[in-house]
Symmetry: D2
Subunit: 149 residues, 4 copies
């Protein structure tokens, strides 16, 4: 992925990742590169369903938010990212102690960015792919943000 | 939607809805019918992003979980619902005090159930559609559940 | 759906619908309204698979193209519609003599339009829903079209 | 991808690929491996839209059918593949002389197979990714096929 990212901007994006609902859920960004972001979450009891499996909603939050911030590395500083749509396939139940998500931009358009996220369940015997996500993001100038409401 | 639901089962499903991650997020089922479920959430500060909009991940949790429990009304008691995949379109940002989700089963197969969820943002001036979701669910006998892992 | 459509433009859209690949496949628009389009296709042997079921690709063409032209009713005349993405759920196999698609715009944004298409299989005993489609379209000024390539 | 494929079955699948609607559209399988299939189509005038771009419906047919046959390499001989759903992102318009699709099974379940297809536009200056597709397939015993209708 072409593009550059100042160290200052890289750090800003990594810290900015964990706010609001995402901080509430305990998600943290661990690696930020141009067009790429890796994030993770240590699983707590409240992330699970009654059957012990990790809830699809937590994985959706992780996949969507990571894709959004991967896209955020590729847009002007006065733009914001909005999710237009995403689709997730749950390949197998997740039940480990940690989830890791790797999100990348596969088409960085000026207005529309397409991203792909993969979520891995980190089990004692190694990590395994549990979610495949495909997302469409909009890059919107801050000045236009309110008009969409 | 054809089908029947004993009052006991209806109550079980409504109460069972809010456990684990879903209880953590504050989602509650308010109406349960054969092939249909309505749920809602009173928005708290931790449900929002930094810009004040409600996070897509919370809406995904609401849409997915409600679709799953709508499907749950239509399967044998010794089966469980697993999400195979879903897709969500975010039509406009949500920022109100309450979200409501109405989920219905549009094709109740024996193994595969297709569901549709809509999320509405309840604003002072009235509710407005913010999310359209299409979900594929699997009905899996409890005895087979572990094999999928 | 609010909006107006001159009779001239309505006729232009209905005729313009059947060109290129769509004419090759035999699809025809039968009703055009602001934010809505109905189209159909009389099934020929070459539309089927070896098992006699109608091919998913034909239904995708019908659903996508109809959604695109429903969107086309809502944009300036010097804009074009490009499909950003779509998702289709195949609820049951289709095998009848005719397919009908009803497409509507559920969110007509200035740049992004979200549409929903339903495909019905017309069988001797009545029509039945076979495909549910959710599509994101871009409205692009003709002058910008080449830049996306 | 683990698994084996007899030479006889491999040839059967490759030839079986081009029938009905797929033969009508001119698609051909060029490589078959366990869990993988590559197919292509030489673009004809009737594959294009009025603006010269290749129609999304043709690419959907190519992506879906190739995913289905990639799945077909991994199921018992008396089973059939049905598409449950798919989602496609169109990253950029396609306008070249040939399209190539590479489809692989990313989760080969007993009943449900998840596949990923990529469509490449072969332009004079090299091939470029134009479509990303994520598909859910059902493996259905021939004996149960009629019951789904």
């Amino acid at each position: 992925m072409k593009g550059k990212l100042s160290e200052e901007r890289r750090q800003h994006i990594q810290q900015d990742y964990s706010r609001g609902f995402v901080a509430f859920c305990g998600l943290e960004a661990v690696r930020v590169e141009p067009g790429f972001l890796e994030a993770g979450v240590r699983i707590r009891e409240e992330h699970r369903q009654q059957d012990g499996f990790i809830h699809a909603g937590l994985m959706a939050t992780l996949a969507d938010h990571s894709a959004g911030y991967a896209a955020y590395t590729m847009i002007p500083e006065n733009h914001r990212i909005l999710t237009i749509e995403f689709k997730m396939n749950f390949l197998r139940p997740a039940y480990g102690e940690t989830l890791v998500c790797r999100a990348k931009v596969i088409k960085p358009g000026r207005r529309i960015l397409t991203c792909e996220s993969e979520v891995y369940d980190q089990r004692p015997e190694g990590e395994i792919l549990v979610v495949k996500n495909l997302t469409t993001m909009a890059s919107v100038p801050e000045s236009e943000l309110k008009k969409n409401v």
